[in-house]
């Protein structure tokens, strides 16, 4: 798969397959195309050449098809992107009610259940502006899970957080991973990668430089670029 921003090629010949229930961590220096890659998976970015197949159906121009795929793919953003005009509970129930046509009662039960899993069910009636960054990000995870997605994408979920709050968000993600969710995580948290990832992908300049089993990746990285990156980050 290839992608250009104007004349600039951000993704070069990406060839990546993720099996069900696998947890993949994508790392690499900034500007290497990690975020663009996972934003392509639910077509927040359009790719120009190649094919992307999500859960058996190919991403195409067809809007209905795209919306159906997005409903199956949860995403968590760096800046949380909660809806500030809605309460935490409404943030979580909005999409299930209007996209999946779930009855309101059932959607609320589901939302409270998901909020409980990330331990902010006591904040359900507050607004996003009243919560700390870590709480907001956990709410964003719960919001994505309320759509009962098959895959979860995380786009640097902890990069905008204070160090103290990173742990609570990572804990929520670890629990999710242990529950067997298929996850693609862009992150710099190598501790998280070591703990839950099945495979680690290292990207630089729009290409996948190295892809390896987690242990292998940290123990003997093959390319020099990866070694350099790991030596700086660890």
């Amino acid at each position: 798969m290839n992608k250009w921003f104007g004349d600039f090629q951000v993704l070069k010949d990406i060839n990546l397959e993720v099996e069900k229930n696998k947890k993949i961590v994508v790392c690499g220096p900034s500007g290497s195309g990690k975020s663009t890659l996972i934003r392509c998976i639910n077509r927040l970015e359009e790719h120009q050449k190649g094919t992307i197949i999500v859960d058996g159906s190919e991403l195409s121009e067809n809007t209905k098809n795209i919306e159906a795929i997005r409903a199956e793919v949860g995403m968590v953003f760096q800046q949380f992107n909660l809806f500030p005009h809605l309460s935490i509970l409404d943030n979580c129930t909005l999409a299930p009610i209007w996209v999946k046509k779930m009855p309101k009662k059932k959607a609320e039960e589901l939302a409270l259940d998901q909020l409980k899993k990330v331990q902010i069910d006591d904040q359900a009636y507050k607004y996003p502006g009243q919560l700390s960054g870590g709480q907001q990000q956990r709410c964003a995870i719960a919001r994505a899970l309320c759509m009962e997605p098959k895959i979860m994408l995380f786009d640097e979920p902890t990069s905008a957080l204070d160090p103290e709050m990173i742990k609570e968000v990572l804990d929520a993600m670890v629990n999710l991973a242990k529950a067997g969710m298929t996850m693609i995580v862009v992150t710099h948290e190598m501790g998280f990668a070591k703990e839950v990832a099945d495979e680690v992908i290292f990207m630089d300049e729009g290409m996948i430089v190295e892809r390896a089993e987690t242990k292998e990746f940290f123990a003997n990285p093959k390319s020099d670029r990866t070694k350099l990156f790991l030596s700086q980050i660890l």
């Binding site: 934003r39 809007t63 919306e67 159906a68 997005r70 995403m75 809806f83 005009h85 909005l94 996209v99």
Partner: protein
Amino acid sequence: MISKNFITNLYLGLFLILVSLIDVSLNSFFKLNFTNFLPGSISFFLPLILGTIGLYLIRSDYTGLKQLDILNKNVNTSNFNAVLTLLIIFLIIKAIPPSMSWMILDANISGDSREACTGTGACWTYIKVWFRRFMYGMYPNELHWRINSAFILVIVLGMAGLLATEKLKKYLALYYVIIYPIIAFLIIYYLISGGAFGLEWVETGAWGGLSLTFIVSFFCLIFCFPLGMIFALGRRSSLPTVRYISIGYIEFWRGVPLITVLFMSSVMFPMFLPEDFFMDKLVRVIIAITLFEAAYCAEVIRGGLQALPRGQYDAAKSLGMGYWKMHIFVILPQALKLVIPGIANTFLALVKDTPLIFVVGLAEIAGMLAMAKTNPEWLGFAMEGYIFASIIFWIICYAMSKYSYNLEAKYKTER
């Protein structure tokens, strides 16, 4: 903190300020001049000089006396500001007696003819006699109850939304955007126009005064907002046809003056219509103003849409929402909240633009004034009329702007 020296200065300063204020007040209210033993120019400037010295003496850094600190921090920061402050206070004191005597003390309000106005002040009798005309235009006197009851009905129906239960809340937007305008139109059409249900027909040419201001403003406001919203979205659409149509529409209406639009609607437009097709002048005017203001609304709303971070769109899309769901539930509620001040601005301008319908022969309150002041029996009372109209417009506009502040506060959920 406060030295003994400063306390002396404080008393002296306050005394001097008091003297200067008393001097000006006596001069203004009782035409007394204590200081006429002094040469003319010194006597004229004396209060200002005394006041400035007084303010100089009480000026100080933080003292701990609350009122004094507020005064020093806000108006008494330098000699220049002290002089300006005194001048403004003196001007107000000087302006009170003449305006009071014109508006109240020497004014007349009794009687019902021109002869009743014998005083040198305002002739409120004029307003009293013409009051019904200013409110209802040339609408027959004995039928005014029809206008009143139509307005009451429309207001009551407008407030009905407040009573909506949780279950009906989701239909509120539908109610206000589509159902309510239609019902309001029917009420106003059948009650004020008549011609059915045994009500006598009154042609729209006879409508006028403040009630016409309300009718025109009301319909233009409720129609131009949704229309503006559609064009704002259209201008940001990714479909080129929709986008260019919206841009063309907005730029066309923003480029022409309202007064020519009104002329066109009443003079040119009927020429293009089939002969047996009749559209009332008032309806044409309302449509013209609505189309015109919708372009302004569209640009204000577009400003709000652009202020939203891209992440909001991303988040809504990533949850599987399509274009309309994303806009209805996520984007528009936030964007419209952001543009409340701008929309209030546009709406206020709209209300104050309504007097322009005078050019097509419809006389709302300012138009009725213009007619009344040229009535040979009542020549020379233009001032009273314009003050009256200004007060009424001010009340309407102030109420609207207050309401917009309330809305802002009500929908404020961010920190």
